[in-house]
């Protein structure tokens, strides 16, 4: 459900730190009919033009707070709200070149009633990165 809506075009950009491009970010919405606390997120996967990135390369930002993926497992009080995006920053020195990219995004949400496999949703979308 919601697959066509989970990867936002807005916000797709390279991320700078100390004047260096350290990676890029995407804004993503939950593919579920409710918001969840962050530990309920089982997995994220991102690929750009076929280059895959696992959670070890990601930082997760909600509001003004940023977490490693492992840290989100203990973020019992932090919410990924229904219909509201969180930001995934993928660490990739140099970032992405300006132009159109094919971006793949997968999320695995694990409510207790679905069993450990949880709900897996993914989408592939062409999006223009300007800078």
């Amino acid at each position: 459900m919601f697959e066509n809506y989970i990867l936002l075009t807005r916000g797709f950009q390279n991320v700078r730190q100390d004047n260096k491009v350290v990676g890029f970010q995407i804004l993503v919405k939950i593919a579920y009919y409710r918001g969840v606390f962050l530990p309920i997120i089982g997995d994220f996967q991102v690929a750009v033009d076929g280059e895959k990135f696992g959670v070890d390369k990601m930082k997760i930002s909600v509001g003004r707070h940023t977490y490693t993926f492992d840290e989100t497992a203990q973020a019992e009080n932090v919410r990924w709200e229904f219909g509201k995006p969180l930001t995934i920053t993928v660490m990739k020195p140099g970032g992405l070149k300006p132009g159109i990219h094919e971006v793949f995004f997968l999320q695995n949400i694990k409510p207790s009633y679905t069993g450990e496999r949880g709900r897996i949703s993914s989408v592939t979308k062409k999006m223009a990165l300007v800078q």
Partner: protein, 393 residues
Amino acid sequence: MKLTRSEFLKTLGYASATIASGDALSAVTGNSATVIAEPSPAGQTSKPKSDIMLGVSLYSYQHAIYTGEMTLEDCLAELNSIGAQGLQIIDEITVPNFPNPSEAWVDHWYEMCDKYKLTPTNMNCFVDIWWGWRHKPMSLQEQVDTLTVRLKLAKRLGFTVVRPTSGAVSEPVGQIFEKIVPIAEDLNIKVTPELHSPIPLQTNGAFVGGILNVIQKTGTKHLGFTLDMGDLPLPFSKERLISVGELTPEIAAYVDNAKAKGTPVEEVQARVNTMNPKSGDRTYLSRVYNIRPVGAPMGAPPVAENDPKDIIPLLPYIYNIHGKFYRMNEDLVETTLNYEGAFKVLIEGGYKYSIDSEYEGQRSMQNQWCEPINEVEQVRRHHLMMRRLLGRA
């Protein structure tokens, strides 16, 4: 003294009154008939057959809420405009700063319930006992504490019923329900685990029997069931689906023939796409080829041998009904579930709580183009059907 509805609802919420939600509604209508408007369809002359209250779960509008097309107030105004009285929510969709909304938001909530003449019925919550399998699972006490937080939130918002979901629906009933009874009694909230497909409704089933045992053991009036109408599917039948306009006979015949000849699914999908298919045609193809369904659902797989008469022994314990539905056609027929059979039993059995529309057809229309999603229209048709079944339209 005449209370406003919001004051009255707050009284219900904060005091440990012993009246049940159905009685509470009668009290409101009886004492201050000007405050709440009974739906009064034109041409109604006879006394309604039943005290059943009709409402809506905001789950029904999840797509519009998710995409930002409808705000909470938009949803509540729509409920008012179709004469819905019961208001049901998923806490983790609706409540900001969950589970601790600000006092200002709670005040606003009551003001809106007052303005739109709505009575909170069932708050649906989740106790994620496994914490996504990335965190230490909840102990039994943590499960009870988590559910208690949800019950207190429900109380703050004026709900009288809470539907908790924790482990898998097919798992035996956990100890959490036994532990929650005294807390539910203290708060005067009815805790109602959901009879959801594919749970067997027979009283000797693990789920139903487990809850009934706790009710008997404790003698409580604060544990029972939310019945989901999806647990009463009509059988999957090509002839019936054609008769209700879900399935195009030519496409069904082509798909059956292709399957018999062993034609690859991709080829069949491509061909069907050229045949001006309805969403039901796509679902039929998915069913015949046993692939992940797209398009409108056509009733749950026949795993539960449930019959409307199975509701009868459970009626004393059913405190809310999810009016689950997938598809209302232009003849105002729900094409997948046994509404007619269920309503007959509910009316004859004297069910007196709320039936809240719970549209779920949008889910299968979000991945692939079928036809525009119109949750608002579907809920309106569902209310027309329910009114007809109750002799109110």
